[in-house]
């Protein structure tokens, strides 16, 4: 019998959430006023949870390392948010969104959680519109939709290429309303450095004021970890520079199991790496695959000529191009899910068809879409026989209205005009499906400690579909946690305020102080970035888009050695007092150096390929991921035992009663 209890409610799938809500214990408004909740992270999940919990009447404290909650990295999400509204009448439904998500996740997600997500999705859009989020609309004044990878309907709502920004500003505005009412106290430029447990329950955190350097103790009756994903373990990713695993990792070290750490999403359409100086990678939204076609030259000699600058992509005739996604996956074409598209691009580049100097890039071409849109627009404008130049100009206008900010971003970085020449793109680390293990209530294995958004593991299985991260973050925060936390807190109405003078707080603070001083006193020879870049290289080369047993074993050894060297030889100027960005970075990299090893251990233990986890030993003859449902249809949840190598594996078996498990095909 597994120690993991997912606490999925009984009854038919479609009734579980309603039944659950009807049966939970509630907390009276008078008692809510005496209960404190800490929310760590103010992205979509954290900000929406904080606003909703405060709205209900709890006293909420939020923490973010940025100077304002509005800057959390959800802000950078581009393409859109899914919801089963079926406004387009194209066959969408709650069940279809559920089905697409489970299939997209390669049958490694928990049915009940995914269904609940699909069920509340439509309500998210209602909520955001009521908050004044300016989604894109059509000429009739109704909300517009577009399509994303891995689905055959248009269910994605968007605000140009800045959907995450608009949704986060909506959640931030809801937070502001509660801050103004005195129901939320927002601690900005603060970083959580430990979780405090009292009698086995989460009762507070140790946070560092990043301006003064002071360590602070904050108590609460429940703690929500909404600190995002850990893609920066790869150093280069589309994450923000500050995105980190520290809050989640410290929670893990205090007893919360960490689930599926090796499930990482490598996003197919990012701007390729240009040199060693690079600090981060920039995403080009998946929505571009609605209109962009991905290709490489069909002939090796053409690819070489392009790499050497002797040939331009626009010179290549249609028959000399290989639209490899359309060729391999005719049903979904350019809109296959991310893991599939990334692997296909890597395969072409590995075969020598890459088109930039490093040979690690493919084209994303908008010329067909520009001409198609231009033609349609010229007809609408009453121009019967428009010439090619007019059609192109009108088409570029349409494309600009849809994706203008992305095209501008691309041009600024690459110094090429994507309206005139195809974009160059390559896969990059983008999102982590793994995270803290949570049950149906989003509670971790520590009572009173919850995890929401990218920080938990639950809904996306081994691969997340595009535009589903925003949906999950807001679903968790606005609609799920407000119920599930209340049920837990109903037993806490007599507890009273938690004192921060308890020995548990003292001990946790001392441990944090000791770690900081050890780092500052190392006074070694290498800056933090040196270690972070080295870790990133190991991760990318051995735990990246393709993994094998030997590489993973090497990665485990190398990361452990690097971690040892880090504590001996890192150089951090300044002291633990006052603002010290190098110390902030060092504390984050220290945790990445532990997580990285567990990541490799997890990947090594999963002897199958599924979603974003591709083990070279386990593939079909056509190079597709080969799942092993008989032996690996489970969630890997790791228990901390002192060092990553000693982590103990617990398995949560995944049971599919409402969906037929089969080989995932997008052909």
């Amino acid at each position: 019998m597994s120690v993991l209890d997912s606490k999925i409610p009984e009854g038919p799938l479609a009734d579980k959430w309603t039944k659950y809500k009807n049966e939970i214990e509630l907390v009276s408004p008078a008692n809510k006023r005496n209960i404190d909740i800490i929310v760590v992270g103010t992205g979509l999940a954290g900000a929406s949870a904080a606003a909703s919990l405060a709205e209900l009447g709890y006293n909420v404290k939020t923490f973010c390392f940025q100077d304002s909650p509005r800057r959390a990295h959800s802000i950078a999400a581009q393409g859109g948010i899914n919801a089963a509204k079926n406004y387009q009448g194209d066959g969408d439904s709650t069940y279809r969104l559920f089905y697409d998500t489970v299939k997209g996740g390669d049958y490694r997600a928990r049915e009940a959680n995914v269904y609940r997500l699909a069920e509340v999705s439509a309500n998210i859009i209602d909520q955001c519109v009521a908050q004044g989020v300016p989604f894109a609309r059509d000429y009739g004044g109704q909300l517009d939709n577009r399509s994303f990878g891995g689905v055959l309907v248009s269910r994605t709502f968007y605000a140009k290429g800045q959907t995450g920004q608009q949704l986060l500003l909506g959640a931030y505005s809801a937070m502001n309303r509660q801050i103004n009412r005195g129901k939320i106290k927002s601690y900005n430029r603060h970083e959580m450095l430990d979780l405090v447990l009292v009698d086995g329950k989460a009762r507070g955190i140790i946070a560092r004021d990043l301006v003064t350097g002071a360590l602070e103790r904050h108590s609460a009756h429940a703690v929500v970890i909404a600190s995002g994903g850990y893609g920066n373990v790869f150093f280069l990713s589309t994450n923000a520079m500050g995105s980190n695993v520290t809050a989640a990792w410290k929670t893990h070290k205090r007893g919360a199991y960490f689930a599926n750490p090796c499930f990482t999403q490598i996003h197919p359409t990012c701007i390729p790496v240009s040199g060693d100086h690079q600090s981060k990678l920039t995403l080009m939204s998946e929505s571009l695959r609605n209109d962009g076609r991905i290709w490489v030259p069909a002939k090796l000699e053409d690819a070489q000529a392009i790499r050497e600058g002797r040939l331009k992509p626009t010179d290549l005739a249609e028959e000399d191009r290989d639209y490899f996604l359309e060729r391999r996956y005719p049903a979904f074409g350019n809109l296959v899910p991310r893991d599939v598209a990334s692997r296909a691009a890597k395969e072409r580049c590995d075969e020598g068809f890459g088109i930039n100097k490093t040979g690690e890039a493919v084209y994303l071409d908008f010329s067909s879409a520009i001409m198609r849109y231009g033609k349609e627009k010229s007809l609408v404008m009453g121009i019967k026989e428009a010439d090619q130049a007019t059609i192109r100009r009108l088409g570029e206008e349409v494309v600009e209205a849809k994706y203008g900010n992305l095209f501008q971003m691309y041009e600024k970085i690459v110094d090429q005009n994507p309206y005139k020449t195809p974009m160059m793109i390559y896969p990059a680390v983008h999102y982590t499906m793994g995270g803290l293990w949570v049950d149906y209530n989003l509670q971790t294995t520590i009572p009173g400690c919850y995890a929401a958004g990218e920080a938990n593991f639950s809904e996306h299985g081994a691969n997340r579909l595009g535009a589903s991260a925003l949906m999950q973050g807001l679903a968790d925060g606005y609609f799920v946690l407000p119920y599930t936390i209340g049920d837990y807190l109903s037993k806490d109405i007599r507890t009273g305020k938690i004192s921060t003078d308890l020995p548990e707080f003292e001990a946790a603070e001392q441990a944090v102080r000791a770690q900081m001083e050890a780092l500052v006193n190392a006074n070694g020879t290498h800056p933090v970035d040196y270690y972070h870049k080295k870790l990133g290289k190991i991760m990318w080369n051995k735990c990246g888009m393709a993994r094998n047993e030997q590489g993973l074993k090497e990665a485990i050894e190398e990361i452990a050695a690097l971690r040892e060297d880090f504590y001996k030889n890192v150089k951090i100027p300044g002291t633990t007092n006052g603002k010290n960005q190098e110390l902030e970075k060092a504390l984050r990299v220290a945790d990445f150096l532990e997580l990285g090893e567990l990541f490799a251990k997890d990947a090594l233990s999963r002897n199958e390929s599924c979603g974003g986890h591709f083990r070279e030993e386990f593939q079909t003859e056509e190079g597709e991921a080969l799942r092993d449902d008989e032996n690996f249809r489970f969630v890997s949840a790791w228990e901390y035992k002192g060092a990553p190598k000693d982590a103990v594996l617990h398995k949560e078996e995944l049971i599919y009663e409402n969906i037929k498990v089969k080989a995932r095909s997008y052909k």
């Binding site: 929406s48 909703s52 709205e55 940025q66 100077d67 304002s68 909650p69 509005r70 800057r71 990295h73 802000i75 950078a76 509204k85 998210i124 859009i125 909520q127 519109v129 009521a130 908050q131 004044g132 300016p134 989604f135 894109a136 609309r137 004044g141 109704q142 605000a159 140009k160 800045q162 931030y172 505005s173 809801a174 502001n176 309303r177 801050i179 900005n188 301006v211 923000a240 520079m241 040199g275 100086h277 600090s279 920039t282 995403l283 501008q408 971003m409 600024k412 970085i413 110094d415 606005y478 609609f479 800056p527 040196y530 150089k571 100027p573 300044g574 006052g578 603002k579 960005q581 190098e582």
Partner: protein, 248 residues
């Protein structure tokens, strides 16, 4: 590229700051401005000096964290970009570059190039929201039609990233462009109209309390805004404010 950098160094809010000159070479034109500072910082650390602190996060122009005054201009010489999107190809080999924090009474320096922009948060808290319960028990999203033109204009205003370049560009350190962008977003949408009167009055009041200056219509904010937020928003806020004051 080889460059000379004059960088503002200041230990903390209460210390006196000064420019310090650094020279740096091996800079590639493909680097972003912040990657150039990363190179400088790693060099300083190896020399046992404290690195230059600056705010940054997403490094793709959307979070609004980065905030440098470069050669006298917020976010530097390029248009419609933030500092993190500014590339070194905008400079020439041998250039001298002055790098300062954003300067405004309402944005006190925290350290080196980092300023405290929490005044912006407080302006938003004063009314930058729609007072709707977040339980999701509202009407269907398509129940109220919004003309595409209004939705597009509201989006353009809402694209503000709150970086503070408008304040840093303004000779009066006015926050009118920032405040008006939020006021406009809601004024243009039916969902925001209900509270339009109190919103504009409260937000303008808070803006004044924070010590931002007045608007004298020089338009520098619009030119320096990395997101192209239009001066029309200020005109709209002035109209909203006038009408709210008359009602009020």
């Amino acid at each position: 590229m080889k460059l000379t950098l004059n960088i503002w160094r200041q230990q903390d809010a209460s210390s006196k700051g000064q420019f310090v000159t650094y020279s740096i070479d091996d800079i590639s034109p493909d680097m972003s401005f912040l990657e150039m500072l990363d190179v400088l910082n790693n060099k300083l650390i190896l020399q046992g000096q404290e690195p230059v602190e600056f705010d940054h996060d997403c490094r793709e122009g959307i979070c609004g964290s980065c905030s440098l005054q470069i050669n006298g201009e917020p976010h530097g010489p390029d248009r419609l970009v933030t500092t993190c999107q500014l590339h070194m190809r905008m400079f020439k080999d041998g250039d001298t570059i002055d790098i300062e924090p954003f300067r405004a009474k309402a944005f006190p320096v925290i350290k080196d190039l980092i300023v405290d922009r929490s005044a912006f948060d407080r302006v938003q808290q004063a009314g930058g929201y729609v007072s709707v319960n977040t339980s999701g028990n509202t009407t269907d999203a398509n129940a109220i039609l919004v003309p595409k033109h209004d939705a597009d204009d509201a989006f353009s205003a809402a694209a503000c990233i709150g970086c503070g370049a408008c304040v840093a560009a303004c000779k009066n350190a006015s926050a009118m462009l920032f405040t008006s962008a939020k006021v406009s977003q809601y004024a243009l949408l039916p969902q925001g109209k209900v509270e339009a009167t109190t919103r504009v009055l409260n937000m303008v009041k808070q803006m004044d309390l924070e010590g931002f200056g007045n608007c004298t219509n020089t338009g520098a904010c619009e030119i320096e805004c990395p997101k192209g937020i239009s001066l029309e928003n200020i005109a709209r806020m002035n109209r909203e404010y006038l009408s709210a004051s008359l009602q009020g």
